[in-house]
Amino acid sequence: MRDPNAIDFWRGFALVTIFINHIPGNTFERYTFSQYGISDAAELFVFLAGWSIGIATRGRDGVPEPAGKSVVRLLNRTVEVYRAQLTVMLMALAIIAGAALLLDNPLILEWHNAGGFFADPIQSVCGMVLLTYQLGYFNILPLYVLLIGVAPLFVLVGRYSLVGTLVLSGGIYLASLVFEWNLPSWPGEGDWYFDPFCWQVLLVLGFLLQRWNARSDFVRRWARRLFPAGIVIVLAGIVLAVTEIRPDPMLVPEPRLLFTFEKTYLTPARLVHFLGVLLAFAPVYALLAPRIGRIVGYLTQLGRNSLAVFSMGSILSLIGQLVRFQTGGGLLIDMLVAGSGLIGLGLTAWFVEWRTRSKAPRLRP
């Protein structure tokens, strides 16, 4: 088990934010940082996944592990995330169907795009396995599967040249913004909610910054110098979010994705805002850690077990939405839903670590 660290802390923080934001309309939504900027917790989550890849593909001494081992390690992780996605999707569909039956309310069947599944299970079940059929609020894991699946490519290029990785990833990013590349949804028309061609750049940035940060103090030096710029960007983000000022996607010049704020394509404005948030908040962990030990302990435990916590968070937020729907919501219900959800996330992380501990002796006799 890792000791508390900034990466796990921020990942836990992102997980809690995503959980709260996935119960739309709840009272606490407006207190999450997602409401006060252009980018949100999804960016943080993907970036930290990239950073972790940088750590995981090296030994403790900083020497890179054999290339084959890194590829198998990432493949193993891809399988784990894919398995989680299938499990979570099936459970979500069952919860939606079960709630519709129990409450005698077919309205619920249309929820989160689930109607397509119930109307056309033959195509939808294929789409589910292919990751092209996604439920609303359940579209981060498919992206994650794909990104970790292609990560070996970037990691291996990085063995020769980190700049090469940056050029490759940045090139794909810019090209998909200009030509609007995205993966299709199926069944049904449309595209993925998180465009993997665009979002890969954030995973790669996380990976690259981790590498450069480990090699020299170049990244840290520049992060300190650019700190004021980060503050300015964060403040600008707050103003834009609160005043709801954003470019009209119909009026911006071509190629339009370079100018809009669209989450699907992680447009440059979102990317720049996220990097600003990173610059402004990177020093915060060191300031907080000694003061809020218990909260740091909770969040880092979530962060260490991010896949299980994220999966359980998706299910708990769906149940939370149902509870809000059936009871009519209100502050008391929201406190109950959010409170028991946060306890549920903590228990999930604890359970995963307990299971790993109790399994360990049998695995290594």
Binding site: P24, G25, E29, L101, L103, D104, N105, P106, L107, I108, L109, E110, W111, H112, N113, G115, G116, F118, A119, D120, L135, G136, Y137, E180, S185, G188, E189, G190, R246, D248, P249, M250, R256, T260, F261, E262, K263, T264, Q321, R324, F325, G328, G329
Partner: protein
């Protein structure tokens, strides 16, 4: 190529004379048809024995009196596309086929529109839009509209916000803003309000969301498919007949999904007929005011 708005209620007389651009008589026929549709009252519609005599574009199981089914309003962009004799690009948002239905909603809608508007090519782009209009989904809608560049957006709206218990006022202002934005770019909008189901009938929040969709449709002068009202009407009829293995509400829901395409097509065609009417350019209100009886119960 003769462009015809073959409104089914015109009957054989109008169809016979409209082959060589007899504009005035055609328009008169359409106007009459609209009047007929607008004035159709429930008992009258039920008394019609012959399915082809009244609102024949609706199949027997989907038949709902016009006043309870839609509010028509002008569709300028679609009309312009018709005038230029180019295909109508339609962006259908939300909705899916009923379980076991042979054709999905977009395919049925395309077929229904092409039946009603002969020689007109209708191209439908169908997208799901999960999420709440009041938080995030309206932004996603903009992306879809920019990508699809449609003449008309048919938007089934309100269900997600209702389930998420979004405040009706926040929903209404977000919806109004989104509709204004779409229309500001010369694109027509048809709104479709949420479904009727017994367990929600007495739910005040739910009815406020349904009401908000109507308010926005009236204020923005866009056609509205009154799905709530239509399903409520149909629910009284399916008391008889065979049940559904999941219960009556699920049977009604399936029926509603099956009928969606027909109901939307009729609303569009009726609205188009209105758009053509030069006799009363702006004198007549685009949307008849809501009467007490038309409102959602509860």
């Amino acid at each position: 190529m003769v462009r015809r708005v073959a409104y089914p209620q015109q009957g054989s007389e109008a169809a016979a004379v409209s082959t060589v651009r007899p504009r005035p008589s055609r328009q008169a026929a359409i106007l009459a048809a609209v009047m007929l549709a607008a004035s159709a009252s429930p008992p009258r519609a039920e008394q019609m024995a012959d399915p082809s005599a009244s609102e024949p574009s609706l199949s027997l199981e989907c038949r709902v009196p016009g006043a309870q089914l839609y509010t028509a309003a002008k569709l300028g962009a679609v009309q312009a596309a018709l005038a230029e004799k180019r295909p109508i690009k339609l962006l259908a948002i939300g909705g899916s086929a009923a379980p076991g239905a042979s054709a999905s909603y977009p395919a049925k809608l395309e077929a229904a529109l092409e039946r009603a508007l002969p020689k007109v090519d209708v191209v439908i782009d169908h997208r799901g839009l999960p999420g709440e209009i009041a938080s995030g989904a309206a932004e996603r809608l903009r992306t879809m509209v920019v990508e699809a560049e449609p003449d008309l957006v048919v938007w089934q709206v309100g269900t997600h916000d209702a389930i998420a218990r979004v405040d009706a006022e926040a929903f209404e202002s977000a919806l109004a803003e989104a509709v204004t934005w779409i229309r500001s770019h010369g694109i027509d909008v048809v709104l479709v309000d949420p479904i009727y189901t017994a367990s929600m009938a007495a739910d005040a929040d739910y009815n406020r969301i349904v009401e908000a969709v109507r308010t926005v449709a009236t204020q923005q002068q866009v056609p509205l498919v009154r799905r709530y009202e239509a399903l409520h009407y149909l629910s009284s009829r399916i008391d008889r007949g065979e049940g559904h293995f999941l219960g009556r509400q699920f049977r009604l829901n399936d029926l509603g999904l099956r009928c969606m395409a027909e109901h939307v097509a009729l609303t569009i065609v009726t609205s188009l007929a209105k758009t053509e009417t030069p006799l009363e350019p702006k004198a007549a209100p685009a949307t008849p005011p809501l009467t007490g009886a038309q409102r959602a119960p509860g």
